[in-house]
Symmetry: C2
Subunit: 166 residues, 2 copies
């Protein structure tokens, strides 16, 4: 029940946020929040809707979108975009979200990895461009080990030598 206990704690935090903003704490908002905090996946809105339906909750999609806005604004949830044509959401409960992803272009699987070099890169652009970084996102696209083992190789349907413009 550790997971549940922690989840309840964050829901309390979310409620505090709503109170701070002078917004009503509603059953629907807490049900959506519980679904997001109860999963460690990168959830799409359809994923969330499915989870709610499986739990016997019937909540309109508009309410899910509106609640996700609040969760993102409260900084308890992170919005992700893997270029799939829709957004995904991840809670920031147990750890800082990792923004480094390995995206397999064959099977679509997304794995996370840590990269200490990112701090150095951020410090360098801050110094060189006077840019003040707040967050980042690093995605490396390629073929995961499983797909390589299944015989997949990077696509070669482009021009043989596209940069020879002579």
């Amino acid at each position: 029940m550790t997971q549940t206990a922690t989840r309840d704690g964050v829901i309390r935090l979310f409620n505090r946020y709503l109170r701070e903003q002078g917004m009503p704490i509603t059953q629907q908002r807490n049900v959506v929040a519980a679904a997001v905090f109860g999963s460690d996946e990168h959830l799409s809105v359809d994923d969330i809707e499915r989870i709610l339906r499986e739990n016997g909750e019937r909540i309109g999609k508009a309410t899910i979108y509106r609640t996700l806005d609040l969760l993102v604004k409260s900084r308890l949830v992170e919005e992700l975009d893997f270029g799939e044509g829709f957004k995904r959401y991840e809670h920031r409960l147990t750890r800082q979200p990792i923004h480094q992803h390995l995206v397999c272009t064959a099977c679509g699987n997304v794995a996370e990895f840590e990269s200490g070099e990112m701090l150095a890169i951020e410090a360098r652009v801050a110094r060189r461009f006077g840019f003040r970084p707040t967050r980042h996102r690093l995605e490396i696209y390629g073929i995961c080990r499983a797909c390589q083992d299944a015989g997949v190789t990077p696509s070669t349907e482009g021009l043989a030598c596209p940069i020879d413009t002579a």
Copy 2:
């Protein structure tokens, strides 16, 4: 006219690609390609449509999308997604496209920067996860120097201490 000369060269390459694929070389395809190769910006489809209209060309949006598909498949053009809700396109004419971007969350401006560390990071994930990288994308979000000078500071509308779940 160096720019034009190079652009014509790439259009020749594009035509070679079409021939290789057994696809007709049409006026519309070359007009769209010329617009993309004639700009060094990150172009949206609306940008491209506007450029064509300014040049007196009237080409359906569907044809622009279909031609961009071909340009991307030929590897002469790169598809970008900055999470704006639509795609952008950049030619790979004069250089390998730089996939490291500084995105200002205040004014929306996107600047590019180089990062030699990326090669080391890719080599490390290849070794550690058996992942075979083909390309990557690094985006650092924050406040650009101009917006800082104008007095913008990072937003603080989230919870004061979101991760204290006690």
